[in-house]
Every structure is written in C-alpha cells, then in structure tokens.
C-alpha cells in the first residue's frame, strides 16, 4: 500500500488528498509506514504548491496568469475575475472585488481543508493503532490456532497409534486364543494318547504279570513256603471253619446287621437331636407367645386389624401347642402348622421390634431437640437421688449384716460353725426379711393402737374433767342440802364403783391398766416401746397414774404375757361401753387379736430359728 502511495503524483494535491482519504477510510489496514507517508506527502505537497504559486506569476505574464486563474476559477465554479464586459470591444477589466472575494473564499476553503486534513490525520492515527492491536490479536490467534492444530495432530497421531496397538493386541489375543485352543486340543489328544498308551502298556504289563505269575507260581517253587515250629491257636480260640454257602450267608447277615446297627444308632442320635430341637422350639414358641400376648391389647386399641387377627391366630396356636400329643406326631403333619405359626409370630415380633426402633429413634430425635443444660441438670438430680438411695441401701445392708452377726454370735460361738455360716446366710436373709416384714406389720398395728389410746386418753381426760365438775356440783349440792359429809362420801364411792363396773379398784386405775396391758403384751416387756408410748402420750391427766400402774401391770404380764386373750379384756370393755362408745370402737378385739397372733408368731419363729441354728 505504501508503494502504491508513493506512486501518487505530488502535483495533484487535492486528488491525492482525497485519494489518501479514501484509501485510509476504505482500506482497514493501518500501518505506521503508510500514515507517515501520508503525512510526509501532504506537508511537502503544500510547500510545493506554495513554491509553485510563487513561481507562477511574474512581471511579464500577469495578464496570462490572471486569465489562467480566471479560467481555472470559473471551471471550479467561482465567479469570474473580470468585470462583465459592457461592450464587445472593450477590454475586460479585472474586478478587484471579485478577486478579493475569490481570494477570501479560497482562503476559507484552504482553512477548511487544513482542518479536515487534521481530522483525517488523527483518525488515521487512531485507526493505525486499532490496526496494530487487531494485528497483534490476529497473530496471537494465529499462533493459538497453530498450536491447537499441532496438538490435534499429535492427538490424532496418538489415537492412531493406540488403535494400532489395540489392533495388534486383538491380534495377539486372537493368536493366544488360537494357541490355547491348539494347546487344549494338543493336551486333549495327548491325554487320549496317554490314556490309550497307558491302557496298552497296562495290558502288556498285565500280560507280563500273568506270565510272570505263571512262571513264578506254577513252577513248584520250593522256596515259597512257611516254616513254622507249630501252628498256634486262633485268637478267638475257635477252630477254623470250612467255607460253605452257609458261611457266606452268615457273613452277609453279619454285614447287614452291622449296617443296621449303624443306621439304628444314627437314627437314635437324630431322634435325640430332633427331640432336643423340638424342645427348644417349644420353649421358644412359648416365650414368644408370652412375650407377644401382653401387647395384644395395644395393637387392638390402635385398630391395627391385621396385627389383631394374627395375634388371635397366635392364641389359637398356643392352645394347640399346649397339647403335648402334637409334638409326638410326625414332622410332616405338624410342619406346616408349626412353620406357619412361627412365621406369624416372627412377623409380629419383627414389626414390634421395628416399632420400638422407630419409637427409640423418635425419642432420640426429641431428645436431641431438647436443650442440653436441662437434661444435664435432670441427670445430675437423678444421680444425686440414686446416690442417696445407694447410701440408704448400704446402711440397710450394714444394719442387716450387724443383725445377722449378732444372731450368729448368739447362736453359735464355735469357730467351726463359722464355716457353716455361709451356708445359712441365704436362709437367714430370707428369714430376716420375713421377720422384718412382721416387725413392720406389728409396728403398724402398734402405731394404730397408740393413736387410739391417745385419743382415748384425751377423751378420758375430758370425761374426768366433766365428771369432776359434776362431782363438784354434786358435792356443792350436797353441801347445800346440808347432809352429813361421811354418808355422802360413802355413797359417792358406791356410785363410782357401780359406774365403773369393777369392785375394788379405782376407776382411773382400771382404765390406765387396761391401756397399759395391751402395749405391754405387744412389746413383750421391751423398755423402748413402752417409753415411746409414754412419751408419745399427750400430757393427759391420767399419765402419772398410768406410769405408776405400769410397774404393777408388768409384774402381772411378765408371768404369762402371751396368754392375755381378748376375752379377758372384754368385760372391762363392756363396762366401759356404757360410758363411751367410741372407746370400745377404738380398741376392737379384732385388732388386738391380730396383734397378739403376730406377736406369738414372732415368738415361735424365733424359737424355730434357734432350733435351726447349729
């Protein structure tokens, strides 16, 4: 392109300019060289034009040049430099105004052209740089293309090689297969050949053997002999028997006998095994039924109809199974029932386990949702509780051990008996438990009675108060009636005795004795219980008397405590019934009876224990 540009005539400036403009605009191949040339060509062009113009007009050819210019200008469309000819012959005058206008116009045009040229040049530069960039891109892309093309070729080459290899391998494989086939054929043929040869050889060998046999055996070989001092007896002591048909039959019999024995033995073993397996099966079935039956309500409530029906079947089966005879039946008849029922139960069990699993997983999920802190607190509380419980249990065990040791110490002093202690430990534990329960029962009864007693005592106190008041009023009345004091007093005593129903003892004393007797008998003279009783009794008015009376009663009761019967106390109660109904209710004979019997039971028990102990 540059070359092409250099050809342009510098004389034709406007043409070349337009041309260059045209080319730069149309041809999108900017090159620095070209743009420089354009610049170079444009600048000297203007200079040339200037020098051309300066040399254009001289003194001699003013007219000519003017006319030339006029011609030129008119051809370019400017107004003529000459004035309008007025006449035909008149010399055309140079119109200065027109010249100046033309000049001005030309200058304006020139400026415009220069501006345009500048614009074009900058555009040219821009386009040149664009061109550069694009060219760079182009080269780069070209390189890439080249590289990828090379790569592709490489890959294609590799592919081709691999395919080639593959083909080779296939060929090899085929060859190998053929080889294997061939070898197999060879082996097979060799094997047959070998077998054939073997057979042939063996036949020959057999023939030889036969021949040898004949040669060796038939020739009366003196050497083949047994030299024995004397024949010894048979191991079984019997004489050898002739071979006959009979012996043959006997041998057969014996053989079959042996076989039969073996089979019988094995059958027995199998039967035993079967029986054991059946037992296990039965047990398992029972356990399954027992395991599944408590759940039957739950699924039914859930309206799980299928499970319900199945379970009812199970129950039927259970009924069937209870019949022992079923197990003695041959397997074939039972098998179906058995397998079916087992299968059903197994299904139920499986579903149940699955349910449980689901539940567990749910619970776990819920558990995960909960906050950890709370659960930990709960956990700690729980552990504390459990620890406390453990402590209590330990204490309990300690006390029990102590009790046991005490008992043992009293029961047996010998060192030898200590050995036997272990054997009785369990028994004793059991007994201890029994005793403990009895004791608790007693305690309960005792407490109940104590309550009634306290109530009674309170009532009694109230009664006495009322009575005293009555008496006071009565005395007052008497006194007011002005009767003799002695007479009144004796009457008073009589009335009192009649009232209480006892002849010589004080009413109060009687009551306190009645109260005292029962606890005394229960506690069997143990001071702990009585003291408790006295302590627990509220400060009723009869307390002091009661305490005084206790010693006297204990003397009586210690003789035969256990012989106190409800009948003995009944009359007193009957007497008291008149005074207070509630009192008799509080000390029912039934409760007393229970109390006594409990007491006697403990006594006998302890007696028995002592007998048992060595």
């Amino acid at each position: 392109m540059g070359d092409w540009m250099t050809v342009t005539d510098p004389g034709l400036s406007s043409e070349s300019k337009t041309l260059s403009q045209y080319t730069s605009e149309t041809k999108m191949s900017p090159s620095s060289l070209y743009s420089q040339q354009v610049l170079c060509s444009s600048i000297p062009l203007s200079k040339n034009v200037h020098s051309f113009f300066s040399a254009f007009c001289t003194e001699e050819n003013i007219e000519q040049s003017i006319s030339y210019l006029d011609q030129e200008l008119t051809t370019f469309g400017f107004p003529s430099l000459y004035e309008e000819p007025k006449g035909k012959e008149t010399k055309r005058e140079l119109n200065i105004v027109a010249v100046l206008n033309c000049m001005n116009e030309l200058l304006v045009l020139q400026r415009k052209n220069l501006l345009a040229q500048e614009n074009v040049e900058t555009q040219n530069l821009k386009l040149g740089s664009d061109m550069d960039h694009l060219q760079n891109c182009y080269t780069k892309l070209k390189e890439q293309l080249e590289a990828s093309r090379r790569e592709m070729i490489g890959l294609q080459e590799r592919d081709r090689q691999l395919q080639c290899k593959n083909r080779n391998l296939h060929q090899l494989l085929k060859n190998e297969k053929d080889e294997v086939q061939k070898l197999q054929n060879i082996i097979a043929s060799r094997a047959t050949q070998y077998n054939h040869d073997m057979k042939r050889k063996e036949r020959e060998y057999n023939k030889l053997k036969e021949r040898l046999h004949q040669l060796v055996m038939n020739k009366k070989d003196k050497k083949i002999a047994m030299d024995v001092l004397n024949y010894v007896g048979r191991a079984d002591g019997k004489r050898g028997s002739w071979r006959t048909g009979k012996t043959e039959a006997r041998n057969e019999d014996e053989m079959y006998k042996i076989l039969l024995n073996d089979y019988e033995y094995r059958q027995k073993q199998i039967l035993m095994e079967n029986a054991e397996l059946k037992k296990v099966l039965q047990q398992m079935k029972k356990e399954m039924i027992s395991l599944l039956s408590p759940q039957k309500k739950i699924p039914r409530e859930r309206a799980d109809d299928s499970a319900g029906t199945v379970i009812s079947d199970v129950e039927e089966d259970a009924g069937e199974l209870s019949r022992e005879s079923m197990w003695d039946l041959s397997c074939e008849t039972v098998r179906e029932q058995l397998t079916n029922s087992i299968r059903k139960q197994w299904r139920i069990l499986k579903s149940h386990v699955e349910k449980l699993d689901n539940q567990v997983s749910k619970v776990q999920l819920e558990g995960f949702n909960d906050e950890d802190v709370i659960s930990r607190q709960d956990h700690e509380q729980e552990t504390e509780k459990l620890e406390l419980e453990i402590q209590q249990c330990k204490e309990m065990i300690k006390t029990q051990q102590q009790l046991l040791q005490q008992q043992l110490a009293t029961a047996c002093d010998d060192d030898t008996t200590s050995l036997l202690r272990d054997c009785y430990l369990l028994e004793e534990k059991e007994r201890l438990k029994e005793e403990w329960s009895l004791f608790k029962e007693q305690k309960k009864n005792f407490e109940r009675e104590r309550r009634s007693f306290t109530e009674a005592a309170i009532r009694l106190g109230l009664e006495r108060k009322a009575f005293e008041e009555e008496r006071a009023s009565w005395l007052k009345q008497q006194f007011l009636n002005m009767t003799t004091f002695d007479h009144q007093n004796s009457e008073n005593v009589k009335l009192f005795s009649a009232f209480s129903g006892s002849s010589d003892q004080d009413n109060l004393g009687m009551h306190s004795r009645q109260q005292q007797k029962k606890p005394q008998s229960v506690s069997n003279g143990s001071p702990v219980c009585t003291s408790k009783l006295t302590k627990s009794l509220p400060a009723s008015p009869s307390t002091s008397d009661f305490c005084q009376m206790r010693s006297c009663v204990s003397e009586h009761s210690s003789i035969n405590v256990l012989n106190i019967t409800p009948e003995e106390t009944k009359p007193n109660q009957a007497g008291r019934e008149c005074t207070n109904q509630k009192w008799s209710v509080a000390s029912r004979p039934g409760s007393q009876e229970g109390c006594y019997s409990g007491c006697s039971l403990t006594y006998t028990n302890s007696h028995v224990e002592k007998d048992d102990l060595p």
Binding site: E202, D227, V228, G240, L259
Partner: protein
C-alpha cells in the same frame, strides 16, 4: 518331663506294642523287645538279614519282621521265645507285609503287585488275592478288624474288594468310578469306605459296606486334586486335603462339604494365636567363654507373634513332579475336637483347627520344616518333630519346645506315642530315646483349659 537314655536303632524301626506293655526296636538284624516302662530288655531275637519292617500283632503276642530284600518274613512270639516262624516268598519277591487284625494271618504283597499271599499261623492254608493295585493306600482294615477293603486293578479299571477277615471270603466286589484309584480308607465305625482318585483328578467317593455308592465329591476340576484324606475318630467328618492348599470337611449325614479350611500364609484374624519358635540367645558371661563351647543347636522357645503375622512360604517348582504344594498331612485329635494340618508349601507351620467352631485355632511356626506330628492317643496334645534335637508339644493350654538332653546331637526324625499318652518315643537315624511326660497335674490342667475354652 524325663528322658530315658539313648538306645541304638536302625531304620526308624521302633514300635510300642498295642497293649502298651512292650517296646520293640530293631538294630540291624536284631530285634530287641523291652519293657515299655523300665526299658529292660525282655527278649532279643536275631533275624536272618537287616530288618526293614516291623509290626506287632493286634494282641501284642507276635512280632513280624520283614526283610524285603530277601523276600523273607520272620515272626516271633513273645510268650514262647523258642517259637519261630519264617515265611519265604521265594522268587516272587516281597514289597509289603502286614498283619491281619486277628493277629494270626500275615498278608504279603509280592513284587510287581502280582498277588497278596495270606499266610495263616493257625493252619496250613494259604490264600492268594490276585490283582492288588499298586497305590498309595491300597489296603485298609476296619477298626473292629472284621473287614478288609482292597483296591484292585483289572482290565484297566479300578475295583474294590471287601473281604471278611475271619475266613478271607470275598464279601463284595465293585468297580469304582475312578481314573486311577489312589487310596481307600474305612471310616472308624467300619460302615463307610472313602475312596479317592489320583492327584490328577479331584474325586472322593464314599461307599457303604455293602458296596453302594453313597456320595461322590469333587471340589474342582482341571487341577491337581486330593493329596491326603483323614477320618475323624467319631466318623463324623472326612477331611480332604488337596493341592490347592485347602482342607475340605465333609459331613457324615449328607456327605456334602461343611466348610473349606484355607491355609493362607498371612494370618490376620486376631482371635488366632500364632506361636513362633524363636532361638533363645545364649547367655554369655562377661568374663569367660564356656568351655567346651556350647552346641550349635541352642535352646529355643515359643513366642506369641502379633497378628497379623505372615508365615514363611516356599516357592514350589511347578515344573517338577510331586510339587511341594497342598495339604499333605492331616490328623484329627482323638476326641475329634481338633484337626492338625500341614501345608507343604508352608513347611514350617502346623495349623490346628477347632472342629467345633470350624475355624483356625492356633498356628505353630517352627524354625525348620515339620517332619512329622502325632496326637496323643488319650488327650488333645500334639507332638511335633522337625528333624532338630527338639520335640515340640502343643495342647490347648499352650505349647512348649523341649530340648532332647544328652551328648551329641539327637535329630528327631520321627516320633510315636505310647497308647497311654504317658510316654513318647523319639527316633533319630541311629538312636531312639523315650520321653516320659508327667501325668496328673499338668494333664489335668490341660484338660481343664480345654474344657474352659470349648
């Protein structure tokens, strides 16, 4: 554990009598009978040539000495030392000789397996059995001594003949579906006969006493097959060791395989105890060296190897005949609880399998290849020898390596138990000695351990 003094021996010929009272040993052409406990010489018999085979009769009254080279068998009586019996097979030659179970007949196999001659010590009668097959184990007697099964070959086919031993009458004769029968073996209950084919084909056939085929077993094809076969004493299991290094256990009800016991060289199950014999490093004093210097063979002990353990394996030469691969030795313990095996390409190891759980129980790895092992006839106790001067004992309670005392080396090549399990004869090339094992506490302990374990 006590050891007797060392006695001379030749040809590893040393046998306890079946009743356990006597011990017969051979020195060249002399047969020495000793008391099994005191080891005092009770009888001395002189044979005509070097003895090659010795066998007690079942009632321990007679001893048979075979001199194959001369084709001679000499029988001696223990009760009557002056009684003698000589059987000459003459030009027919002799390759094998054995007692019949009644102890009154001798079965001699002639050269080339031409025939078996049955000589009676009671009568003059001589019976011949033709066509015996020359194979690994062609003759077998039932445990009760009533029947004998004999492998035969006629017209290129295998047959088995069952004889009644009391009068040598043929009871059954049937052909077996084998290519080349290799062995026959009665079950201990005497009702089932196991027959196996040559190593080229894996085939085990089971026949009833009356000749019916009960079952046929074939584990695989196109490879070397059965190498060893053993019945459990309870007749419940048949163990079949094969060239693929596995033992297959067949049951006696369906005759199907119960389990397959592989013998991998690497043991990874932590439940398995691996005992490895380790050389005890000799303790050398700081200042002095012992004089004379100690024997080359030093003491050894067992160490429990950490699992996973790997065992030394031998690369077998597969291009040679009889390659050293596969299970070649099998033995059940007398109570059928254990099975001891040896895989021939792991020659240093003895595998002990628990037959109740049907799994590997213990592996014992010795420093040198195991020569032979034998169970104590009374309890689960295994004695192993490796050709070194040590004897190894294993019981469920543990295992021990015992050095045979005495001057010079005593390479134990073979061993045999006394029927009571109290003593053990250790045989070397030229000598033998007895090893007395303590009874009572140790045994009780072992038994208790086993009971606790099972």
């Amino acid at each position: 554990m006590n050891f007797s003094e060392v006695f001379r021996l030749s040809g590893l010929l040393c046998r306890f009598s079946p009743d356990g009272k006597y011990l017969a040993s051979c020195v060249q052409y002399r047969l020495v009978v000793r008391d099994a406990n005191s080891l005092q010489i009770l009888q001395l018999y002189t044979c005509l040539d070097q003895i090659q085979h010795v066998e007690w009769s079942a009632d321990s009254l007679f001893i048979l000495c075979a001199m194959y080279k001369r084709g001679l068998v000499q029988v001696w009586s223990l009760e009557q030392p002056e009684w003698h019996c000589k059987i000459d097979e003459g030009s027919a030659g002799l390759v094998a000789s054995c007692w019949s179970p009644d102890g009154r007949h001798i079965l001699n196999t002639t050269e080339f397996h031409l025939r078996i001659t049955v000589w009676s010590l009671c009568t003059k009668s001589v019976s011949y059995i033709k066509y015996p097959k020359a194979c690994q184990q062609g003759i077998t007697f039932t445990r009760d001594g009533r029947y004998m099964a004999l492998a035969e070959r006629r017209d290129c086919k295998d047959y088995v003949s069952v004889f009644v031993c009391s009068d040598w009458q043929l009871l059954r004769h049937f052909d077996t579906d084998t290519q080349d029968l290799a062995g026959v073996e009665w079950a201990p209950n005497g009702c089932v006969l196991a027959v196996w084919d040559t190593c080229l084909e894996y085939k085990v056939l089971l026949y009833s006493l009356d000749g019916r085929l009960l079952s046929a077993f074939c584990a695989y094809e196109w490879s070397l097959g059965v190498k060893s076969v053993a019945w459990s004493p309870s007749s419940q299991f048949l163990a079949v060791g094969s060239y693929d290094g596995k033992v297959r256990i067949l049951n006696h009800v369906t005759w199907k395989m119960i389990t397959e016991l592989g013998h991998p060289a690497a043991i990874s199950n932590p439940k398995i105890v691996v005992y490895k014999e380790a050389q005890k490093s000799p303790k050398l004093g700081l200042g002095h060296l012992p004089f004379p210097p100690p024997r080359a063979t030093s003491e050894s002990k067992y160490e429990i190897a950490s699992v996973p353990a790997s065992l030394q394996t031998l690369k077998p030469l597969t291009d040679r005949a009889n390659p050293k691969i596969g299970v070649g030795m099998l033995a059940f313990s007398p109570d059928s609880y254990f099975l001891a095996t040896r895989n021939d390409n792991v020659p240093n190891a003895v595998w002990v399998w628990d037959m109740q759980k049907l799994r590997l129980f213990v592996v014992l790895e010795q420093l040198s290849p195991v020569r032979s092992f034998q169970w104590d006839p009374q309890q689960p106790r295994l004695a192993i020898c490796t050709g070194g001067s040590k004897v190894y004992l294993w019981s469920p309670a543990g295992c021990a390596s015992v050095q045979v005392p005495g001057e010079g080396d005593f390479p134990v090549l073979s061993l045999c138990w006394h029927c009571s399990g109290d003593s053990l004869a250790l045989l070397s090339k030229d000598h033998f000695c007895l090893c007395f094992l303590e009874t009572g506490e140790g045994v009780g302990l072992a038994v208790r351990q086993r009971d606790g374990h099972t």
